[in-house]
């Protein structure tokens, strides 16, 4: 029985290699409040007209991995990629409900939010291990890129041999320094963007077609 199942699996894998349309799952990872959902929404809106999830100034607004399927991106040379975008909760090493209180969230809700955010990080790491083919690592270019969590995450992504593009977001802000991010991670392509202002997003799409295609 098991031989039959095994043979069936091998045949289906062989056929799917020829006939199935390959779709890459691209995860948007990064620390909280870097602009991951804003980017996911922009990509989805630009290419499908829909959005992925709500955005807010409060950290950990995204506490579950959100997915938008079948996004086809076309580069200037006409080549296309079809991807699923996975917007993940911000990855961090410490979550404290007190940081939500500053944004006017009640204590009980803040504690619940912290618990959900913790589960969200675990879920994001699960996706990274199981189901992601490429990563857009999102960084706030007004913040220090050498934070321990960034070094750790880039190391984990590299160890899984996943293609990665680093998006240096918020370049519209006066104290943005995308060059600092380039210096921090010279081994990876760094694209300075502003998701809110829509600056340089086309370059990111070009890079995605080239890098994830």
């Amino acid at each position: 029985m098991s031989i039959f199942v095994h043979a069936k699996k091998r045949v289906s894998r062989f056929l799917s290699a020829f006939f199935r349309k390959r779709r890459s799952r691209i995860g948007i990872y990064g620390p909280p409040n870097a602009g991951k959902t804003t980017l996911a929404n922009r990509i989805a809106k630009d290419w499908t007209g829909e959005t992925v999830g709500p955005v807010s100034e409060i950290p950990h607004e995204t506490r579950r991995a959100l997915r938008k399927q079948d996004i086809t991106i076309t580069g200037t040379n006409g080549s296309t990629i079809t991807i699923d975008i996975v917007d993940t909760p911000g990855v961090t090493t410490k979550i404290d409900y007190k940081e939500f209180l500053e944004y006017g969230v009640g204590k009980d809700e803040a504690i619940l939010r912290a618990r959900e955010a913790t589960e969200g990080v675990a879920e994001a790491m699960h996706w990274l291990r199981e189901d992601i083919d490429g990563v857009i690592y999102m960084l706030d270019s007004t913040e220090d890129p050498f934070a321990q969590v960034n070094i750790m995450m880039i190391g984990i992504i590299e160890s899984r041999k996943l293609p990665v593009i680093i998006a240096a977001n918020k370049i519209d802000l006066p104290d943005a320094s995308p060059q600092q991010i380039r210096n921090a991670f010279p081994q990876h392509p760094v694209i300075p963007i502003s998701c809110t202002a829509g600056s340089n997003i086309e370059e990111l799409y070009e890079k995605m077609v080239f890098h994830f295609g």
Partner: protein
Amino acid sequence: MVHTCVTCGRVFPDSSPEILSGCSGCGGKKFYFERPVSHKKTSSSPPPLQKEREKPEEEKPVVSPEEDRSSRVESIRIIAPGTYELNIEKMAKCDDRVVSLGREGSYAVDLLSMAGKKKKKG
């Protein structure tokens, strides 16, 4: 026979009360225990003993809080309700969740997640 605090590196002799109550410097409750050098070797070959004695001091790891965090056994540490410390590297390696609950030495383990890998659909 000494106990070295993992967090601040303070050294305490064997059976000191700090081992139970926590480090007098930082309050940490994790200590490295350095094994005693056996007496047989001391009598037979004194020169290697000196080397052995020097070794632990040379190799004593300087552990930063971040490194310590990543080397812990738990993937999620509940410091207080709503306050968590996450071990991202641990989470990246496997789905097994080991959760340490508030008090030191109190752990929750998700047996189902450790029961075995789910069979993937081909």
